[in-house]
Every structure is written in structure tokens, then in C-alpha cells.
Amino acid sequence: MTADSYNYSVFPPENDVEAFAHFMEFLKVGQRAPDPELTDLDTGQPTRLSSITRQGMTVVEFGSLT
């Protein structure tokens, strides 16, 4: 997915139907989670979730301002 198609400008994105339909079959409990590179908002430095999860149980909420 390109940055333009991912960051839709008009709600709702048509391809959300696919995401909503498939979530229940996606990344089941017990599976190892992805660990892509992220950026720490406070430091601006690259980081990964695994740098936190290795310290213990971690609650990860996904969201945005809007």
C-alpha cells in the first residue's frame, strides 16, 4: 500500500471493508507479533516494540488524533 492510499483523505476508505472483514483471522493469539521499526515521539529516535516487550507484558493501543 502506498503512503497516498494508506493515508486516505476522505472517510471512509473503501479498503477498510477488507481490513474489518479479515481481522478475526489475522495474527491470532499465541503467534509472535510483528516488530517493525517505529519512531519515539519524544526523542525522534527509531525504536521497536520488542525493546519494550522484552521488559514484560505490554499493552499496545493503536490510534490517532482524529
Binding site: M1, T2, A3, Y6, N7, Y8, S9, V10, F11, P12, E14, D16, V17, A19, F20, A21, H22, F23, M24, F26, L27, K28, V29, G30, Q31, R32, A33, P34, D35, P36, E37, L38, T39, D40, L41, D42, G44, T47, L49, S50, I52, T53, R54, Q55, G56, M57, T58, V59, V60, E61, F62, G63, S64, L65, T66
Partner: protein, 172 residues
């Protein structure tokens, strides 16, 4: 979710907010066209909601969001082995707290020497919608966000777009 984070931090539970794309872009806070804009809007989020959790930003392409299922406000609980312990397609603090309490109890029993055997389980979640707060949020984003959501609800009520998934998602 910040209150939950504060309440369980002393018990070793970490909490992260992973900032993804704008769900309801509007005139005031449009869709991201640069990473710098995404950072700036994440800072507004942090201030508006007095977010006390660490905020990590996904990249502009949504690599992490896509890898976890691309739902707008989902929650995962990951173990120290980075495996999924809990997942929900929406975030409801009381449901997450229920799961955290359960998982902490399991860890406690394991520390006490109880033999623990993992198994697969699912739970149908229920959440309490903050209709007024959501409407205020849309207005904060800009008039277009209000109009687009109103129009989308009409489509859903006709069984179009996400409305076609109501049976699959347990809403019928």
C-alpha cells in the same frame, strides 16, 4: 487507557500508544502527507488528551498498522516473548483491564509453582460508546469529518460498505 497504564505500571505492565493514520481527517487535522506532519499531529494528540503513555509513531506507509490488522483503534497485549496474549479490534479499557488482570493472575500462579498450560480462547467484547465525546472529536477535526461520518453511517445503515459486515461482526 492512561489511567489503566498508571494503575498497572507498578505491577510491571508496560503501555504504549502506537500512532497510525488519521481515522477521520478534517480541515483542521488532515490526512498525513509527510512524516513531519504525522509527528506534529501526534504532539497535538498528546497534549489534547494529556497522554501519559509513550507514543511510538508508525511510518508514513502504515507498515506496523498493516502488520497488526489495520483497525483504527485496536489493542494488543504482548508478552515478554513478543507473542500475542490478547487482541481486540476496538479499544475498551474495561475489557483490556479484564485481560490484564487475568494475565497477571496467570503469571502469579506460575511464579507460585502451578503448572500452566496455554490454550486458545476467544471472547466477544462489548464497549460503551461515548456518542457525545465522539461527536465533539469529529467537530474538533473539522466540518468535513462530521459530514463524512454522517454520510458513512447512512451507507452502513443501507447495508453498504461496513454495513455489509454486520452479521460477520455480530451486530445482527
Amino acid at each position: 487507557m492512561d489511567d489503566l497504564s498508571d494503575a498497572y505500571a507498578a505491577r510491571g505492565v508496560k503501555s504504549i500508544f502506537l500512532y497510525v493514520r488519521e481515522a477521520h481527517p478534517g480541515e483542521n487535522f488532515p490526512h498525513h502527507t509527510s512524516f513531519e506532519q504525522k509527528q506534529a499531529q501526534a504532539r497535538v494528540f498528546k497534549e489534547r488528551w494529556s497522554c501519559r503513555r509513550s507514543i511510538l509513531l508508525d511510518d508514513l506507509h502504515g507498515t506496523a498498522h498493516e502488520a497488526f490488522g489495520r483497525m483504527p483503534n485496536m489493542t494488543y497485549i504482548l508478552g515478554a516473548d513478543h507473542r500475542v496474549l490478547f487482541r481486540a479490534d476496538w479499544t475498551d479499557p474495561s475489557t483490556v483491564q479484564f485481560a490484564v488482570d487475568y494475565l497477571l493472575a496467570v503469571a502469579e500462579r506460575e511464579r507460585e509453582g502451578t503448572a500452566i498450560e496455554p490454550f486458545y480462547a476467544e471472547l466477544r467484547g462489548f464497549r460503551w460508546e461515548d456518542v457525545r465525546g465522539f461527536a465533539e472529536g469529529l467537530a474538533f477535526n473539522g466540518p468535513r469529518a462530521v459530514t463524512e461520518f454522517r454520510d458513512a453511517k447512512l451507507r452502513w445503515s443501507r447495508g453498504e460498505h461496513l454495513g455489509a459486515l454486520d452479521a460477520l461482526r455480530g451486530r445482527q
